[in-house]
């Protein structure tokens, strides 16, 4: 990998050809995924916390549009008094040890979660006929998520002032593509038609996502547009 993420770029732009080589052992695929994704996820989590703490401090210092609240029938003095009672924000350095524990756990949890649901989705669509078991799904997810980590890198653009807000919709579309991208890896490693792999990720989203993904989308939009 002479240029970082070059192979991920190629995989994301040519997903049908991305998983045609012999698969690596599961441990190797997992190691590669973790090596790429955890540092990026940690950077993303640090920036998210930093922004959230900034937003909280701005709120404490009266960052709310009190005039607007007054027009909505809310007494601004009551809100101001309430905001003054809020405790000061924690320093980011106190959150760092927690992030160092929670982010790797989150990455591994996401990998397992995707593998379980995508495997179930693929079974529901009859895509497991090649009799390759759950281990193959774990491998496919690890390979796909390593490439999809490029999306986390691009997602860091959302923290740029002004540009971040403008990019919120394109980045959401990118998130959608990266969700589907796992389907190509699943299909290739389970030796079934690509549509089954793609549809498995869609079923995953439908089964779980009606509620949870809707909430997550709202949160992502708020985080990207807010503060």
């Amino acid at each position: 990998m002479l240029i970082p993420f070059l192979d991920s770029w190629r995989a994301l732009t040519h997903p049908r050809e991305a998983f045609q080589d012999l698969p690596p052992p599961l441990g190797v695929a997992l190691g590669r995924m973790v090596a790429v994704w955890i540092p990026l996820a940690l950077g993303n989590a640090l920036l998210t916390c930093w922004r959230a703490l900034q937003g909280y401090e701005a709120l404490r210092k009266g960052g709310l549009p009190l005039d607007l609240l007054a027009t909505a029938g809310v007494d601004p003095t009551v809100v101001e008094d309430l905001l003054k009672t809020l405790p000061p924000a924690l320093p980011l350095t106190r959150l760092l040890p927690w992030l160092l524990v929670l982010v790797p756990l989150g990455v591994l949890g996401t990998w397992l979660h995707h593998a379980v649901w995508d495997h179930t989705g693929l079974w529901l669509l009859g895509g497991l006929k090649a009799k390759r078991g759950f281990r193959t799904s774990l491998l496919a997810e690890a390979e796909a998520l390593r490439h999809a980590a490029l999306g986390t890198l691009v997602g860091l653009l959302s923290f740029l002032p002004l540009l971040g807000g403008l990019l919120s919709i394109p980045l959401l579309l990118l998130d959608g593509y990266l969700w589907l991208f796992r389907g190509f890896a699943l299909a290739a490693r389970h030796d079934c038609e690509p549509w089954r792999g793609l549809a498995a990720t869609v079923i995953h989203a439908m089964l779980l996502g009606c509620c949870a993904l809707g909430l997550l989308t709202c949160l992502v939009i708020l985080l990207r547009v807010g503060a």
Binding site: H119, T120, W123, L124, G126, L128, K129, K131, G133, F134, L207, L208, C210, C211, A212, L213, G214, L215, T217, C218
Partner: protein, 124 residues
Amino acid sequence: MRRVPWLALGSVLAGLGIWVSARLAPLAGLLPGCAFKQFTGYACATCGLTRCILALGRGDWRGAFHWHPVAAGLALLLPVAVLWDLRRAWRGEAYPGLPESRWARLAAWALVLGTWALQAVRGI
């Protein structure tokens, strides 16, 4: 060679999560609710799941069955799954693959769609 009983471990974690969620019940009111229902006016297949889990955390099985009968039924089967997994793990038997039968897949589809229809019709 014995193997790790992942299913049993996962079930224990799920039980712990349910117990913790009951302690966090006062915060449940802060959740914005189901986005799918807000957009369409119809419940989704997972509508009622949070309230079901909170009811399970309180030990309120009647409430849990009311909010999400399928999830409550699965929770009821969890101890059976734990014993099954522990027995197989002790004997070193690998996990069986998902059944290849078309009927099994159709039954799973029926369960998912039936749950959705049930929750939508009841307006959960």
